[in-house]
Amino acid sequence: MSDLGYDAAHMLGAVVLLMSFALLYQRRLFSLLNVFTMQALALTATAAWQAYSHGEPHLYITALLTLVLKAILIPVALHRIVVKMKIHRTIEPALGIGLTMVAGVSLVTLSILLVLPVTADATALTRENLALSLSVVLLGLLMMISRRNAVSQVVGFMSIENGLILAAVGAAGMPLVVEMSVAFSVMVAFIIFGIFLFHIRERFDTLDMQKIESFRGESD
């Protein structure tokens, strides 16, 4: 692969990771959704670039699905839910911004330390792509843990899936079946999340998971 191909793929992957960091410190739901859209756009560009540089046309479909679902439909729908439920107030991260950032940087370090030794015989692009995508997955997990609000948890969940797609498009010749299923599962997951959000709003009048967690079958 040419140097340009390598550099571009590397840079686009890094942008996806950067957006994961940006997601961590967004205090408002609208800006959270905007950053998520940008991450989806960066992922679209990554998939399209891999399709072009590796000559794997099926990745264009992945790129297209990412663009349509994650950069357009889902942010618009979530935006509507936020407006409809009047929850566009400040969101409260469970940890402080500084602490979240430190935790995020440690997770990225961890994933690099974890991936680089075990992939000593793989190509440089595969290794770095894997390290980047593992970082995105871990940061998504961190976000799901540190946020209490249901909408931010959904965004965290989808950013984990972004990391998975980043890994899948980087794996040379990965059969289409997986990308399709990921894209599909995002859609299904979103529909169900939507139903859930609806019911939760209906039943609890709040999306604060801390309050919902007190509704238990029994105390234990």
Binding site: L114, V115, P117, V118, T119, A120, D121, A122, T126, L130, S133, L134, V137, L141, M144, Q153, F157, I160, E161, G163, L164, A167, A168, A171, A172, G173, M174, P175, V177, V178, S181, V182, S185, V188, A189, I192, F193, F196, H199, I200, R203, F204, I212, E213, F215, R216, G217, E218, D220
Partner: protein, 485 residues
């Protein structure tokens, strides 16, 4: 058309048809019908020599799991018919929800059977993911605050688990791709088993850790078990039965397929210690938690965590004997636990409550049900002559022979759980029968809806397995035990 195709296609077609069928009686009958066709097709696997193609694989490992899944699917659909008739009568469910419920039931069976028979890592992952989606929808069927909270928790936790499992699957492909070239071969079980010896063990190890945590969440292993008791307690009882009896097995099957790859590779890390640690943690934690449960469905859900811990421990120990015990225990637990949930479902319906202290004297008020529940609990507690005793006995003796130090916590865990089961079953089955929650009428005046045949069919099978195992089954278990390393 091969038998496997029929097994997978029948529930899929069934789901589509049941989504259109009005009326819960017809729906329940069709549900039983489709499940029966699936079971017949899976029994045909034993007659025609199973072969593996690009899509499906049938070997000594999954053939008995497919048959078991189809069988429990059928008996649960029979139980479900009586169960929902009662729920309709008391107004907890309506026709629209039941149409949805029946379609989801068949869709769930489709995903289970697809996950078991798929010859492709990606397809298996999609199937397990689909199983999560369908069960989430069924757990939230009652639309109560508690059931929605349970479904939400289940969805979030298992969603993350499923995501990690996909990451593990992608890593597995990345590990295989340099050896086997790009394309579908590097994601096919049968191809992978042939080439795995040449695959670099380092990425394989990393992949297995993700797969164990990911699919392990669905198995309900501690510390990732938080979803399991809630999902079992708040959904309809037939769903609790198939969750415990089938879904946990299928998730474990996925882990074990990958463990086979690691064992065939030879240089990869031994997954044993990891699985032993998670298994023991689940066993001890669930054993202790059993004492404080007041909800009867939650109580038996914790017992499922305990047994999944025992099974995972068995496969972690490895070796022909422990693996054999693990495979046998998977089948025995699945039959016994679903039987217990049938009995519990009836008991909850006649008493109108899930709280253990409000249910008593079932052997007096409903002898057939009460003694059936008692037999089920005796079986799950690991007492002879039932099959669970045999698998636990095999496991404990082989552990004592090889790792006496590990046998100690294992025996302690089993005994702790045993104590809790004995304590609670006395409350449930003996003493004076109480009154129905709400109306105050004597419990004995409420008849059991539907038939107790599924309950006793399962108990009979567990009893037979405790006394005599058929030759071919033993031969399969031995083949698979050797492959599992």
């Amino acid at each position: 058309m091969s038998a496997v195709a029929v097994i997978v296609a029948t529930p899929l077609i069934g789901a589509a048809i049941l989504a259109l069928v009005p009326g819960h009686r017809l729906g329940a009958r069709l549900n039983i019908g489709f499940s029966a066709i699936t079971l017949l097709a899976s029994l045909a696997l034993f007659v025609v020599e199973p072969s593996s193609g690009a899509l499906f694989v049938v070997d000594a490992f999954n053939i008995y799991l497919i048959a078991l899944t189809a069988f429990v699917g059928l008996t649960t659909s029979v139980f479900s018919a009586g169960y929902i008739a009662h729920e309709i009568a008391i107004g907890k469910l309506d026709e629209r929800k039941l149409r949805f419920y029946h379609a989801m039931y068949q869709a769930f069976m489709f995903t289970m059977l697809l996950a078991l028979s798929a010859n492709n890592l990606g397809v298996m992952w999609v199937a397990v993911e689909g199983a999560t989606l369908t069960t989430v929808l069924m757990v939230s069927l009652y639309r109560t605050a508690a059931s929605i909270e349970a479904a939400w928790k289940y969805f979030i936790l298992c969603g993350v688990g499923i995501a990690l499992a996909l990451f593990g699957t992608i890593l597995m492909y990345m590990a295989a791709q340099p050896v086997m070239g790009p394309g579908m071969a590097a994601m096919t079980w049968t191809e992978l088993m042939g080439h795995v010896a040449k695959i670099s063990p380092a990425i394989l190890n990393l992949a297995f850790v993700f797969l164990l945590i990911g699919y392990g969440t669905k198995v309900g292993l501690a510390p990732l078990h938080a979803w399991l008791p809630d999902a079992h307690a708040e959904g309809p009882t037939p769903i609790s039965a198939v969750l415990s009896g089938l879904l946990l097995n299928v998730a474990l099957y996925a882990v074990l397929r990958f463990k086979m790859l690691l064992a065939a590779n030879g240089q990869a890390i031994a997954p044993g210690p990891l699985m032993i640690a998670m298994g023991l943690a689940s066993l001890l934690l669930a054993g202790l938690m059993l004492y404080r449960r007041r909800d009867v469905k939650r109580f038996f859900a914790y017992s499922s965590i305990e047994h999944m811990g025992i099974i995972t421990f068995a496969f972690g120990m490895g070796g022909p004997l422990a693996n054999f015990a693990g495979l046998l225990h998977m089948a025995m637990h699945s039959l016994t636990k679903s039987a217990i949930f049938y009995a519990v479902g009836h008991a909850v319906q006649v008493t109108g409550t899930q709280r253990i202290e409000r249910i008593s004297g079932l052997t007096v008020s409903h002898p057939a049900l009460g003694w059936g529940l008692l037999a089920g609990v005796v079986a799950i507690a690991g007492l002879p002559p039932f099959g669970v005793f045999m698998s636990e006995f095999l496991l404990v003796t082989s552990t004592f022979a090889r790792q006496p130090l590990l046998a100690l916590p294992l025996v302690v865990g089993i005994l702790v759980a045993f104590g809790a089961l004995v304590l609670r079953v006395q409350q449930l089955c003996f003493g004076a029968p109480g009154t129905v929650e709400g109306s105050g009428a004597p419990v004995a005046s409420v008849p059991v809806q539907g038939t107790l045949v599924p309950l006793y069919a399962h108990l009979a099978l567990v009893l037979v397995a405790g006394v005599w195992l058929p030759g071919p089954l033993v031969a399969w278990f031995q083949t698979v035990a050797a492959l599992l390393g």
